[in-house]
């Protein structure tokens, strides 16, 4: 099925076209979402939202970018929305737990504010990496994830992000510098693993 046939099929809600779209893109969509939100179940749920969005707005799809690029854009936007919602929820939970502990009159444990699970080293390392990537400015985060996790070329990233090649290069360079800095800060604050 060509891209044009697929788009036309989706517009008229053709079952074969829908199945073709899901079969060919679901894994990519889920994995991209997973790289951003770091939770496979949430990424799978989010992929349903992405496909519904594709299905709903396919009639408005402007063919100035490839379908693949357009789907990536939707996935990235949905993932960022999810992260924003999650961030708000986490702030409320942190404030809630802080208030609960304070009202109990017990001493507040500083570890309640960090999301690090010290019981499991691997889990902790994963969390450190996810937190460091998530704390990057949005554009740096998108460029870094598409480059390092998706292994996309700068040109593809530029197309998805609607930026020039040099901007993407600069974003990735700054993202790496920031990540190095954040991880170094973390190591100096909490100590290192290989003592």
């Amino acid at each position: 099925m060509t891209e044009q046939q697929l788009i036309d099929g989706l517009i008229v809600q053709n079952k074969d076209a829908i199945e073709y779209l899901v079969n060919n893109y679901q894994k990519k969509v889920i994995k991209t979402a997973y790289y951003f939100i770091a939770n496979m179940e949430d990424a799978e749920d989010l992929s349903q939202e992405v496909f519904l969005e594709i299905f709903k707005s396919i009639s408005r799809y402007k063919r100035n970018a490839s379908l693949y690029t357009w789907i990536y854009r939707i996935t990235v936007n949905k993932s960022l929305d999810h992260l924003r919602r999650q961030k708000k929820r986490n702030i409320l939970q942190t404030v809630g737990s802080f208030l609960r502990v304070s009202s109990d009159g017990t001493k507040r444990d500083d570890n309640t504010l960090t999301t690090v699970d010290t019981r499991n080293e691997d889990k902790e390392k994963r969390k450190i990496l996810d937190n460091a990537v998530n704390s990057l400015p949005e554009n740096q985060k998108i460029a870094f994830i598409l480059n390092k996790y998706e292994e996309m070329a700068y040109k593809e990233i530029a197309e998805i992000m609607n930026l020039s090649l040099s901007s993407v290069e600069s974003l990735i360079h700054r993202a790496k510098l920031n990540l190095q800095k954040k991880l170094l800060n973390y190591f100096s604050e909490y100590g290192t693993y290989n003592k």
Binding site: E19, M40, E44, L129, K176, K195
Partner: protein
């Protein structure tokens, strides 16, 4: 080569992007500086989770869930009235409701006016009867007493 060069080139070293001479100096520094050696191995062990993440596989049943969701969405869309019909029906129903609201408003105002007129007529009738029967108007005796005092 000092420690700051190591700290600023962790990714470059890991991605084998340092020129050969710098790479050698980098590694020589790691042999000499225990702290930097530790930092580099920590950095590598944390960033190795990028590769681990890449190998994660989604649940194979997600495909069915996605297709079911799209199917149910399509059924919902089919159950809804024609959007063209909705486009016409919506302004008509809003205009109709507005018209009813205006009519109700007018009737309430009219009813209020007639009650006021009735009240005035009633007062006039009482006054006429009082004057016909020579009944004086009520005098507030307390007020008169205090005025005189």
């Amino acid at each position: 080569m000092d420690c700051s060069f190591i700290h600023n080139n962790l990714f470059a070293y890991q991605e084998i992007q340092l020129p050969e001479r710098e790479k050698k100096e980098f590694e020589d520094h790691l042999h000499a500086c225990e702290e930097c050696d530790r930092i580099v191995s920590d950095f590598q062990s944390v960033t190795s989770f990028i590769d681990e993440k890449k190998s994660a596989e989604p649940n194979p049943f997600t495909r069915t869930r996605i297709l079911q969701k799209i199917e149910s969405q399509m059924e919902c869309a089919r159950a809804l009235p024609n959007p063209f019909f909705l486009k016409i029906l919506h302004p008509i129903s809003v205009s109709f409701l507005l018209l009813i609201a205006v009519i109700i408003g007018f009737s309430i105002v009219k009813q209020g006016e007639s009650e006021i007129f009735e009240n005035i007529n009633h007062q006039n009738e009482i006054q006429t009867m009082k004057s016909a029967l020579n009944i004086p108007d009520f005098i507030d005796e307390d007020k008169t007493f205090f005025d005189n005092y």
